[in-house]
Structure formats: C-alpha cells, structure tokens
C-alpha cells in the first residue's frame, strides 16, 4: 500500500467520482465541488500567467523598449495594446449601464472566427477531400483497389446527396440519399467501435492506479 499522502488523496477522489455510477451521493457532490473549484482556479492561474503576461505585458514591454532605445514605433508590438483594450472593454460588462460596450470585443472575436473558419474549412475539408475523391474507378489488374475506389466515390457522392436540403428526397435522388445515410451510419458505427477500445484504455490505467499504485496488489 502506498505511503504517499498524495496517492491516498488521489485514490479517494478517484473512488468518489466513480461512486456516481451507482448513484448521486454526498461524496460525489464533494468531489464534484472540489473539481469545479480546483479546475476553475487552475485555468484562471494558467490564463493569467501563460496568456495575459506574455501576450499583453511582454509585448508592450518590447514595444516600449524599442521606443526608448531606438526611438522607433514598433507597430506590431504596440497593436497588442489594442488587444488589452478589447479585454478591458469586455470587463465593462461588470458595469450594467455601459455593459453593452462589451459587444465590441465580441464582434471582433466572432468576425475573426467567421473569417478564419470560412477559408480554412473550405480548403482543408472541402477542396482537399474533393480532390482525393477524384480518382479512377478502374485500377487495372487490382480488383481490391477497384472495389475500394468505387466504394469511396459512391459513398462520398451519395453521402453528400443526403445533405441536400432544398430538394425533396424522393425517387432516384431519395435512393441515393438513402445509400448515403447507410455510409454515414457505417462511419458512425466504425468510429464508435474504435472508441470502445480507447475508453477501456483509460479505465485500465485508472484501475491499475487503484490496485497497483495505491493498494500495491500488482507487482
């Protein structure tokens, strides 16, 4: 059995969370409260020291330094001041009367997200995938590759048809959409099957901690 205090605390918290599987109980409530408090605190510290300090403080320090030593205005680093101002505007939410100003930084962030996602997903999801679906159906002398190609092209094609919104899924079109949803279901099934293993691994490691590290039953 472990003689480290930390290991005992960890074991208590592990069992406390697991007890939720049986039913909600005070020990779980306690662990849950600890979890919420500690994790909120963890991210608060990390965001402050790992993001706020280097992004705002350090960049402005560089900007001021350049100004003092070279007398030049370093636009790039000064622009972080604007980021800091946006952050302060966000905090104006705490003042009910002018809280609506916090919509400005929100607008900047949503605009950034919309612009970046539009291009990046179009390139990496759509164009690249379309490109790799444009393949010859028939591969001379290789039956597997031929069947594989056909499945990929037909599956992608029909799958996309399923997502058509402005046309009723009827007749041949509906048939294709139907085949499409079969492919989508196979995708889901396969991903799920693959996941079972992943999740079991996590539990194995946790159980190994309990019976091995904590209780010392496994040599």
């Amino acid at each position: 059995m472990s003689t480290t205090l930390g290991v005992w605390i960890a074991a208590f918290l592990t069992l406390g969370i697991m007890s939720f599987l049986y039913k909600d109980n005070p020990i779980y409530k306690f662990c849950e409260a600890v979890f919420v408090g500690v994790s909120a605190g963890y991210w608060f510290v990390v965001e402050s020291i790992n993001v706020f300090l280097p992004r705002v403080w350090d960049n402005l320090a560089i900007a001021v330094n350049v100004l003092q030593e070279q007398g030049k205005i370093d636009w790039f680093h000064w622009s972080y001041l604007l980021g800091g101002i946006l952050g302060v505007l966000m905090l104006l939410r705490l003042v009910p009367k002018i809280g609506w100003i916090s919509r400005w930084p929100l607008g900047v962030i949503v605009g950034t997200t919309a612009g970046l996602w539009l291009v990046n997903y179009l390139v990496s999801n759509a164009m690249v995938q379309v490109r790799h679906t444009i393949i010859p159906l028939y591969v001379a002398g290789d039956l597997n590759a031929t069947i594989g190609s056909i499945i990929i092209v037909v599956g992608t094609f029909c799958g996309l048809i399923y997502f058509f919104f402005s046309k009723e899924h009827k007749g041949a079109f509906g048939g294709a959409a139907r085949i499409g949803i079969w492919f989508i279901m196979i995708t889901f099934g396969a991903s799920f099957g693959y996941t079972v293993m992943s999740r079991m691994s996590l539990l194995i490691a946790r159980m190994d901690f309990l019976v091995g590290t904590w209780l010392g039953l496994i040599k």
């Binding site: 605190g41 950034t112 919309a114 037909v154």
Partner: protein
C-alpha cells in the same frame, strides 16, 4: 448603435481575415496571428467574469443556506486552494514546474479527478452500445455491423476468433477494410458538408444576417 456597431465590426474583421488568406504582403500575413492573439487576450480578461459569477453563485448559496450550501463552500475553498499557491508561492512564471505547490495540487487533486471523469466513459460506452447497437432497421444494422467488426478486429480476441481464415478475411483485415473504404467515404461526405455549412454560416454572420450572439437593443 448598440447593435449596429458590433455587427459592422464583425463584418469588417471577417472580410479582412478572408482577404488576408490570399495576400502574403505585410501586414496581412500577420493578421491571422494578431487577431488570434487578441482573442486569447480577451478570453484571459473574460475569465474574470466567469470566476466572479461562479464565486457569487456559490457564496450566495452558502449565505442563504440553500440546498447543498456546504458544497458551495467547498467550491470556493478549493478554488482558493489552488489559486493562492499558484499566484503567490509557486515561483511566478515557472509555476508549473514539478515540485511547486501548484504542481502538487495539480498532480494529486486535479489529475486524478480529470482522469477518472474521463475513464467513466468506459462504462458509458458499454451501456450506450448495449442499447444502441440493435438491428432495429437497416440503418441501425449498418451501425451495428460496422461497430461489431471494428470492435473485434482491433483486439487480440478478433485474431483468435478468425485466425483460421485466410489472412485477408481475418477480422483485423475486415476492420481495416471498413476503416479504409466505407468509413472514409462517409467521413468525407460529412466533412465536405460541414465545410459548406461553415462557409454559409460564416457568411451569414459576416453579413449580419445572423446576430443572436450580439443580443438586442
């Protein structure tokens, strides 16, 4: 004013960032990074709002002796338990180095909680598959079969069950085959669809047609 200004900001920023993808010239080549950093800065500021809300709700609960008030106090106490050593006693910027008080709490309290919560998925995956994988209709049958073969093909049991078959018919090969072809095809259709959905949704946001996130007057 309360509504128009943020919408205009959103539109201008969005279009600028789309343009920056095609323009290698400065300052456009740096905009993506700059705006992402701004987001991080705003998020770092905003976390204060969340934390204040969390503390207020829980202290309120304790003060008014509402149901489970004790656990409200636990939330506040454990928040302070990590924040105070984090800011004051863990060597400033090297607060995450092994050995600091912050790291000890991280390692012995936060990590086990996180790992265990994650590990609960093993149980949930089992109960969900028991319920969901039934051959109720053709679609469910597809789901079931794909899951069944992949599940078996990925572990040694699958090997023992099918080792008498020729190599390409063994469960591992079947699983690989499903993953390589039908799975890839389905995934691709979903991915292309998502890309189009994002293009359309982003445009609606940039054009100000979709503005729920901003609120009203």
């Amino acid at each position: 004013m309360r509504r128009e200004v943020p919408l205009i900001i959103t539109g201008v920023v969005g279009i600028t960032l789309i343009m920056s993808f095609f323009i290698p010239h400065t300052p456009f080549n740096r905009l993506e990074m700059l705006f992402t950093h701004w987001y991080q800065i705003v998020a770092a500021f905003a976390i204060v709002l969340g934390i204040l809300n969390l503390l207020r709700v829980n202290l309120d609960k304790a003060y008014k002796r509402q149901k489970d008030w004790f656990f409200g106090l636990v939330v506040v106490a454990s928040f302070l338990l990590i924040v105070i050593p984090g800011f004051l006693f863990s060597g400033g910027r090297s607060f995450q180095e092994p050995g600091t008080p912050f790291f000890q709490i991280y390692f012995y309290v936060y990590v086990p909680l996180m790992s265990t919560m994650f590990a609960l998925l093993a149980f949930f995956v089992a109960s969900a598959s028991y319920r969901a994988f039934r051959a109720r209709n053709k679609e469910a049958t597809m789901l079931l079969l794909a899951a069944f073969f992949v599940m078996l093909g990925r572990v040694p049991i699958g090997y023992y069950l099918s080792s008498w078959l020729p190599e390409n018919y063994q469960l591992a090969a079947v699983a690989d085959w499903i993953m390589d072809f039908p799975q890839t095809a389905g995934q691709r259709a979903i991915m292309i669809g998502i890309a189009l959905g994002i293009v359309s949704n982003s445009l609606r946001v940039i054009l100000g047609l979709e503005r729920a996130y901003i609120g009203g007057e």
